[in-house]
Amino acid sequence: MTRTDRLFMGLSWAIAAGAVVFLMLPLVITVAVSFTSSPVYTLPPPDLSLRWYEAMGRRSGLMDSVLLSLNLALISTAISLLLGTAAAIAVAQGQFRGRRAIATFSVSPLMMPGLVVGVALLQFLREMGLRDAYWSLLIAHVLITLPFVMRTLLAAMAAFDFSLIDAARTLGLSWPLAILKVLTPNLAPAFLTAGLFAFLASMDNYPISIFLTDARNKTLPIKMLQYLEEQPDPSIAAMSTGLILLALIALIVGSRTVGLNRMIQG
């Protein structure tokens, strides 16, 4: 290693340390603000208090939004895992033409502008005569979660040795049973990662959902942005801290079962 090499590497370490601080900064700020006693976002908080957590409980409609978001995230992730697993097996194992195109197409919604997908879906569903907000949202959230599932499962199945399935079949298992008993436990980390990121993406989605909600069906992100416009006080930071806690739990579960390094490779 020459001196220039060492200089490069030292610089990389310094920038990486800065990046860690930069990335964590908004989360730390949010948590700090949520425990303030003051009605404005002063930093550092003059006094510690839980008053904004109590205020959060008094917000009207918050609980309904949380339940709606959880409901949509759970159901849409489950549907996407089913659809995605079947499609990913087809891409990994099939010999038919256009498999690469299928893979690209099924991941492509990740790079499409959310608002545009929302607008297009709104106009399409209206044309089809679907006016129910809950069903529209569910249809949209399957579309939101499916690419996340596909991205992780496609990568995992490309690395999976499918001759294990053939071996299980030689031993007398039917094909669906072989998939269930051999593939599923082997790819459990990939399923967990896929489900986790899909769930979080659904919980967080704003740009597609905003076009499909009505007065009674408002998802959590939409409700939070509405609070920010109408009555921005630190109770929003308290809600955000709750979401950070949820992410932290997901991260701990993920790192214990899958490992952080494998999680990000999906």
Partner: protein
């Protein structure tokens, strides 16, 4: 064997049919609609009318400029970070990985909200800058393009680091040593060996961050508000407040064309880089 092959294609059908109906078809209808004038005749009138308005042009260029600056800022931070992450072991590795995954798992609204607090004129950032003596009195950060770029780069940074890290991790350390033993200077090694090998990761990350940044909505609406509109904000405004669906659809189609161009352009570039090796 033939029957078995068709069975696999069948497995992909439900998922693909779903995406075709609720994703591809609506987007194509949107595009087709934007290419028709009031009488339903094929024309680009809606686009020429959109670009004839100087306000729209300002918004169009601002959107592209912000997306480009965000991508560049993220790239400058992410490239060295990916190298450090590939070398890191133990707690340093854990710290960088947690800093990638945790913010990824926290929603955009939470992070954009935090930045709007930080950027306030009586906010923490201003106090810090005054404390280190960089500025004398509070400067206006909130509602500026700079603030938007910083906030957006913060939110999208992991999407730049991860693809670059995926490539850097597979670099053979022996390559650098081999080049060095042949007398290559560090600069030469970086520009002729390391950089070309990591370019596919850079292209993938940049394309992803650019396409996210060009269409972001939550971040600008919380950090710059109505004062500095972007294309996404024009879309939301024309649909949700102005009830001008025509305008909203035209801008949507425009943003869609930009996104598709980025996807196609980056995959073309990735293929070219791949075939060169």
């Amino acid at each position: 064997m033939r029957g078995a092959l068709d069975r696999f294609a069948l497995l992909a059908t439900p998922g693909l049919a779903y995406l075709a109906i609720v994703y591809a078809l609506p987007l194509m209808l949107l595009l087709a609609e934007s290419l028709r004038d009031a009488e339903g005749v094929l024309s680009v009138r809606r686009y020429t009318e959109f670009f004839a308005d100087s306000f729209n042009m300002t918004v169009f260029w601002r959107t592209l400029r912000v997306a480009l600056m965000t991508t560049l800022l993220a790239l400058v931070i992410a490239y060295p970070t990916a190298f450090a992450l590939a070398r890191a072991r133990g707690w340093a590795q854990t710290a960088i990985l947690v800093a990638m995954v945790l913010p990824l798992s926290v929603g955009v609204i939470v992070k954009a909200f935090a930045w709007s607090i930080l950027f306030r004129s009586n906010g923490a950032l201003n106090e810090f800058l005054q404390w280190i003596g960089l500025i004398e009195r509070p400067i206006r950060l909130l509602f500026t393009e700079t603030a938007l770029v910083i906030g957006a780069a913060n939110v999208f940074l992991p999407f730049m680091v991860l693809p670059i890290y995926a490539v850097v991790r597979q670099l053979d350390p022996a390559l650098g040593a081999a080049a060095a033993s042949l007398g290559a200077t560090p600069w030469f090694r970086f520009f002729r060996v390391t950089l070309p090998l990591t370019l596919p990761g850079v292209v993938a990350g940049s394309a992803f961050v650019f396409s996210l940044a060009v269409s972001m909505y939550v971040i600008p609406s919380l950090i710059v508000g109505e004062r500095q509109q972007t294309l996404s904000m024009l879309i939301a405004r024309s649909f949700l407040f102005l009830r001008d669906e025509q305008l909203g659809s035209t801008i949507s189609a425009l943003l869609l064309v930009i996104a598709v161009a980025v996807v196609l352009g980056s995959s073309w570039l990735a293929r070219r880089l791949g075939s060169r090796e």
